[in-house]
Subunit: 281 residues, 2 copies
């Protein structure tokens, strides 16, 4: 594995690889890698000749009151883990290279970013689609892999890729969970031991919602109420949203039918955690 | 020359050409080609192995009250002219292919689009940067050629290309003028014979401004006033703006010094015409 920090060097490498007919897969990350990221890298490794994993804590996807400086970093550990999982090139650009003086261009996906996390983090997805556009242009992948944990992000990126005619296949890999059901996340690091022991309630509440629907419940408000009650039983929790939406349009449903996404964002202490399940009714 | 209408066919062609090591140049146009466009195609032909000229009247760069349906079209004549000037591939996509159902992704350059034409056509440059991003992703050029006539557009595209890390060289070709000085434009077609005979006042006013500056005038308001008076002597004229700005930032200058752009947009009858000169003081 080689590490590349220079944008032009990464572009030259990609151009050369493409000219040799190699298939490039990109796994964009913000580092502090866990099993979730590694599953994306492994999936990329199965699908492509060259796996590029990018590590970049992208400032434009953090809000003014958010944790960009506190976001956990461990580049040495990441380097080892990324290599073991099958990365060929670790791309680690600097802030200065990514957002040079006078930077002022942004990519926006409109409707799909209005609800769910977009309602609570108004500039977040603009930052995500902008940095992913830049990474697509630098790494020039044939394939890019995202995690289902960020369900809205995956749908937004698919839409952007199609709308802007990027000739790139977007793969979405399933959520990787700890044994107790908590979805892997770099932000789990912010949990105290007690909060960590309580955090699996998020997935438990989603499983309970799924069970209610399997047993015939079709009213989203009834299902959301039950989910909400389970989470609010944890004293340190603060719910941003629990939504039951159409899995393609991300619009709230009036009746639970078709392809459904149940998604939530909940603070447990200082950690804002997200989780979701896809259901076909 | 071949004509391609299908997006995927264009992408495959470009991918293959790149793999063969050919240099691709893109000349994006809205058709109704004149000598200005042809000069861009010739410049592209000198610089590249494969010249792709795109013809697409892009609806997203027209405002709600603007002339998208009335915009002049003549694909047969364009085909002949584009070929004669050195086009290898004429790319003529359909609206349906470019903006499919559910389209919602836009590219925005912020500061540079606020003044000049951006102040009068608030969604225009968003439409331009969006369609050019799409064309860049479809045609995958090494070089793309734009005209100095659309001075603000050229600067906005350069900024976007740099900000989004497109590995593309932007070339800007000088304004081509009729013998009487009127800048070539598809919109000149809207002029009545009388208006056509009056329209050269735009360039004459810019030349007069240049002369004042050569003779020592450094106050932009004095120069603008003289320019304005010349244009307003034409009864059918209505000025959108006459601005004297820094040629890189496009910000109005208080004193005429350095690299200066004098740009104007003026209605002559129904035709909104633009023109500009670059001055180094």
């Amino acid at each position: 594995m080689r590490t590349v920090t220079d944008v032009e060097a990464m572009q030259s490498y990609a151009e050369e690889a493409r000219r040799e007919g190699k298939v490039i897969a990109l796994v964009p990350t913000m580092g502090f890698l866990h099993e979730g990221h590694l599953s994306l890298i492994r999936l990329a490794d199965e699908a492509a000749d060259v796996v590029v994993t990018s590590i970049y804590v992208n400032p434009t996807q953090f809000g003014p009151s958010e944790d960009v400086d506190q976001y956990p970093r461990d580049i040495d550990r990441d380097t080892t883990l990324a290599q073991q999982a099958g990365t060929d090139v670790l791309f680690v650009p600097t802030d200065k290279a990514m957002y040079s003086q006078g930077y002022q261009t942004f990519v926006t996906v409109e409707n799909l970013t209005r609800g769910l996390c977009g309602a609570f983090r108004p500039t977040h997805f603009r930052g995500v689609t902008t940095i992913v556009t830049k990474l697509f242009n630098i790494v020039r992948p044939h394939i890019s892999v995202f995690g289902q944990k960020d369900a809205q992000q995956a749908i937004v990126i698919k839409r952007m890729t199609r709308d802007l005619n990027f000739d790139i296949e977007i793969k979405v890999a399933p959520i990787v969970r700890h044994e107790d059901g908590l979805a892997m996340s770099s932000r789990n690091k912010y949990l105290t031991p007690q909060q960590r022991s309580q955090a699996p309630v998020l997935y438990q509440s989603l499983c309970a919602a799924n069970k209610m629907i399997e047993e015939g419940e079709r009213n989203p408000n009834v299902v959301k109420k039950h989910t909400k009650d389970m989470i609010e039983a944890i004293a340190s929790s603060k719910i941003d949203y629990i939504e039951i939406v159409n899995a393609e349009t991300l619009e709230p449903v009036r009746e639970i039918r078709g392809n459904i996404l149940i998604a939530l964002a909940v603070y447990i202490g200082k950690a804002r955690l997200i989780d979701n399940i896809l259901i076909k009714v």
